[in-house]
């Protein structure tokens, strides 16, 4: 399933650490220190993970074996780390603050679980000094345990447009020939507000592109848009102009809804993660029910707007996890939202035209029913998943995303074929049931569907 992005980012970092500490042929199955940098507007935070046993050996502080740390132990670790982390640049010596000292169990490539001590170092350059080029003089543990490795990872760098991918900056280790440990020179790519904005725009588009649940809600709500309700059934085909206006109204209402809560959530409105994710699944379920039988005909924009509020709360989790402020926050909000809208618009433009065309064929009824039922099943799977009941449905629903390009292709081919036929093609093409069709089902399957009872209410 598409996890909340806070979880996603955390998991990505764990993955990055697994990559970066793999260092296969150098063959340490020995735990290593990992330093993960988050570059902010005015300072850099470094998340430190230190193998507890090595830290104990190097510092003499009793942290071996892990477990809860006593207050004086934490203080001792802070003092030790402050002695072994120095940052300098052309601007001078940076201020280094250590806090959040804690203990945990972690795992790296081939190490198995091991106790570790974590801490956050806040690295602040002198007033106004550039923070994109600096020397990290870090020798905690390795000053004593000379076989230790320290891997430095750039976890996020807003100004370079890098917020969701980690990359290695290098390793700090003993040079065996000279017996010295050299500081690591960090030279980050040029960055600025524009790169940051573009990075957030990309994040927004990928968020929707990968967010099958968001797409599915909107598309399912739009599924009956080309139809008119009569006697609690989807009956006649709406005039094209009216269908397009309804599609636009629903899309705009959804946009307004999620923009409002995206902004509020990012600016600090607390978002209860799990209920929001579950409500999103509910929203898809309701949209699917509506696609089967009109529940609120004509009021789709209202529903889209209301549930848009819920979807926007989920979007905001991505931004608040980045812990931004000031100009970066404003540009992020703008860029991320714009990215979401652009991708959403693209999805609507890609999927709706063939649906409007196919709505005029008898096939639309089984198509709409089939899609709605499938969506309902997927939504149910997500819902169960998100309230803590793992079922095969949840993971099955997750493959809707990867499958969607093929479904879209099938829809377009079907629509084009329909248009071609309505304009009268040569008889040979028109009567050959095996003429090239959408990828996927066999002729037999298609025939089975086609021989289903005639739809009602036409």
């Amino acid at each position: 399933m598409r996890h909340s992005h806070r979880v996603g980012i955390t998991a990505a970092v764990v993955g990055a650490v697994a990559v970066l500490t793999a260092s296969p042929a150098s063959a340490h199955v020995v735990p290593s220190t990992v330093v993960e940098l988050d570059v902010h507007a005015d300072d850099i935070t470094a998340a430190l993970t230190l193998p507890a046993d090595d830290l104990a050996t190097a510092s003499g502080i009793d942290v071996a074996g892990g477990g809860t740390l006593a207050d004086d132990t934490r203080v001792a670790v802070v003092d030790y780390l402050e002695d072994h982390v120095t940052v300098t640049s052309d601007g001078g010596t940076w201020q280094v603050g250590i806090d959040d000292v804690d203990s945990t169990e972690t795992e790296q490539w081939g190490t198995g679980e091991f106790p570790a001590v974590t801490a956050t170092a806040t690295l602040t350059p002198p007033d106004g000094a550039d923070l994109r080029t600096f020397t990290l003089d870090y020798d905690a543990i390795v000053h004593q345990v000379v076989t230790a490795d320290i891997f430095v990872v750039l976890r996020s760098d807003w100004a370079a447009g890098q917020v969701e991918s980690a990359r290695s900056l290098g390793a700090i280790e003993l040079d065996t020939v000279s017996g010295t440990v050299s500081p690591l020179t960090v030279d980050l790519d040029d960055g600025g507000p524009w790169q940051g904005f573009v990075g957030m725009l990309r994040l927004g588009t990928s968020h929707i592109a990968e967010g099958t649940d968001h797409q599915l809600f909107l598309l399912t709500l739009l599924l009956p848009a080309p139809l008119l309700a009569a006697r609690r059934r989807w009956a006649q085909v709406a005039p094209t102009g009216r269908a397009v206006r309804r599609i636009a109204a629903v899309t705009i209402a959804f946009t307004i809804g999620h923009s409002v809560t995206l902004a509020l959530g990012t600016l600090g409105l607390p978002v209860p993660q799990q209920p929001v994710e579950a409500l999103i699944a509910v929203s898809i379920l309701i949209a699917a029910a509506h696609a089967l039988r009109p529940l609120f005909p004509g009021r789709e924009p209202v529903v889209a707007g209301l549930f848009g509020l819920v979807h926007g709360m989920a979007f905001s989790a991505t931004l608040s996890a980045l812990d931004l402020s000031g100009e970066q926050l404003a540009l992020s909000l703008l860029g991320f939202n714009l990215g979401i809208e652009l991708m959403q618009l693209a999805v609507v433009l890609v999927v709706l035209p063939p649906l409007v065309v196919l709505a005029r064929t008898r096939a639309y009824q089984p198509l709409r029913t089939g899609a709605a039922v499938l969506t309902a099943v997927a939504a149910l799977g997500w819902l169960l998943d998100r309230v803590g009941l793992t079922t095969p449905l949840g993971s099955a629903a997750d493959v809707l995303g990867p499958a969607s390009p093929w479904v879209v292709l099938a829809l377009w081919l079907a629509a084009l074929l329909t248009l071609a036929r309505s304009r009268g093609l040569p008889p040979a093409a028109a009567t050959d049931p095996c003429a090239p069709r959408a990828a996927g089902p066999t002729t037999a399957e298609a025939q089975r569907v086609s021989s289903a009872p005639e739809r009602t209410g036409s």
């Binding site: 260092s23 199955v29 020995v30 198995g112 990359r167 996927g440």
Partner: protein, 414 residues
């Protein structure tokens, strides 16, 4: 099939859209099942190949004998196996050894997840990971495609025997050393496979490679290795011109029974180091004590030609004759892994350099506890032994490397 011509266009018109609906259903179910079977990537390497029959091929081998034994082994192989066995002689291939189980190098196991081809364990990565961090960090990283050569899981009993004859021909015949040590290493890895290590461990996960063609002219290397073991004999114009880097680690370090054999390799090494250290008086011991700590050896795989310019510890000229004998005995637990003639030749050279050979250690003098570390650092010889925490089993286990400052890889540096 169609009852009337007029119905035809209508029916036909329905098909494409219905097809799309079915396509959704089909893709849903098929993708779901493929996801279920995703994590069965680990190759099932049988560990049931012939167990070592302790064949007593103890021929002291000149190079000509080695070439003959190598050719005899090749003669038992099929074409695919030969292709895997025969590799180019290059520094890249020669330096591509490791103490890791091969699955950990290629990403098939251990830490979990698959590492397809590149150095990116994408399988180990959660789906939220969009941008790929480029490559790995850290110096000394040479490859993530695993060892080159022929994997031992493909060997028949006859082929195993031919391989063992070859290995016996290039290794020493003393108990618990040389050839016997290798057989015990294979048993030890079977023991790990049987005791929580799983399919990534066991005698089927070792690799033999000929870098270059075995011949009495030109350069070729016999490479045999796997988890905790690397043998690297380089022959130049018919002479053993380099017998290192030679890696010996072992888990379990305690004595166990496996495949009917008693497994206790590397205990003699620890005992020899301990005998040397405990023979030192307190002044000597102080001089030998390193101030640094070690959780592994310094010059493991990938750290080639990186010997310290300054030697640390107690210099050999400060040792009594008895102590020098103990130092030489400790060195011989590595050099003695070679065939007797080669071992005698190299040991004599190291003996002539004993006065300027340093001994340095940290931890306890038992060399059995985690953090214990000893180094022998001479003009030519370089031996490191490090006790570290268990991986598959609990309890400390050693990693050790024997290098030669002149003849590692027969002097090939790049």
């Amino acid at each position: 099939m169609e009852p009337s011509r007029t119905a035809t266009p209508l029916r036909l018109r329905r098909w494409p859209a219905a097809a799309a609906a079915v396509a959704v259903a089909v893709s849903l179910t098929s993708c779901a099942s493929s996801e279920d079977s995703d994590d069965t990537a680990a190759s099932s390497s049988s560990s049931s190949s012939s167990s070592s029959s302790s064949s007593s091929a103890t021929v002291a081998a000149g190079s000509g004998d080695v070439v003959a034994l190598a050719e005899a082994f090749v003669a038992t192989l099929d074409d695919d196996q030969k292709e895997a066995l025969n590799q180019d002689y290059s520094f890249e291939n020669a330096a591509n050894w490791s103490n890791f189980p091969n699955a950990l190098l290629t990403g098939g196991g251990g830490g979990g997840g698959a590492m397809p081809g590149s150095s990116m364990p994408s399988g180990a990565m959660p789906s939220g990971m969009s941008g790929a961090p480029s490559g790995g960090a850290g110096g000394g990283m040479t490859s993530s495609t695993g060892r080159v050569g022929l994997q031992t899981d493909s060997l028949s009993d006859e082929q195993w025997t031919a391989l063992e004859n070859l290995l016996a021909g290039v290794t020493g015949s003393a108990e618990n050393e040389g050839f016997d040590e290798i057989l015990q290493h294979l048993d030890a890895d079977d023991h790990l496979a049987d005791n929580g290590g799983g399919d990534d461990y066991g005698r089927g996960n070792f690799f033999v490679a000929f870098l270059g063609t075995p011949s009495d002219s030109g350069t070729w290397e016999l490479q045999f290795g796997g988890h905790h073991l690397a043998l690297a004999n380089t022959y130049v114009d018919g002479t053993l011109a380099g017998a290192t880097p030679s890696f010996r680690g072992i888990e379990p370090f305690t004595t166990v029974e496996e495949n009917g054999d008693t497994v206790q390799p590397e205990q003699q090494e620890a005992a020899a180091f301990s005998a040397l250290l405990t023979s030192l008086d307190s002044t000597q011991l102080d001089a030998a004590t390193l101030s640094s700590s070690f959780n592994d050896i310094l010059l493991g795989p990938g750290n080639d030609w990186a010997f310290p310019t300054t030697s640390e510890g107690l210099v050999g000229s400060q040792l009594s004759d008895d102590q020098k004998a103990l130092l030489l005995a400790a060195i011989n637990t590595y050099v003695g892994d070679l065939d007797d003639a080669s071992a005698a030749r190299i040991l004599a050279e190291y003996e002539s350099e004993l006065d300027s050979t340093y001994v340095a250690y940290t931890g306890s003098t038992n060399m059995t506890e985690e953090g214990d570390y000893i180094r022998i650092d001479g003009p030519s010889v370089w031996i490191e032994f490090s006790m570290q925490s268990g991986i598959v089993l609990s309890g400390a286990h050693p990693h050790a490397v024997w290098r030669d400052k002149q003849t590692d890889y027969a002097g090939t540096t790049s």
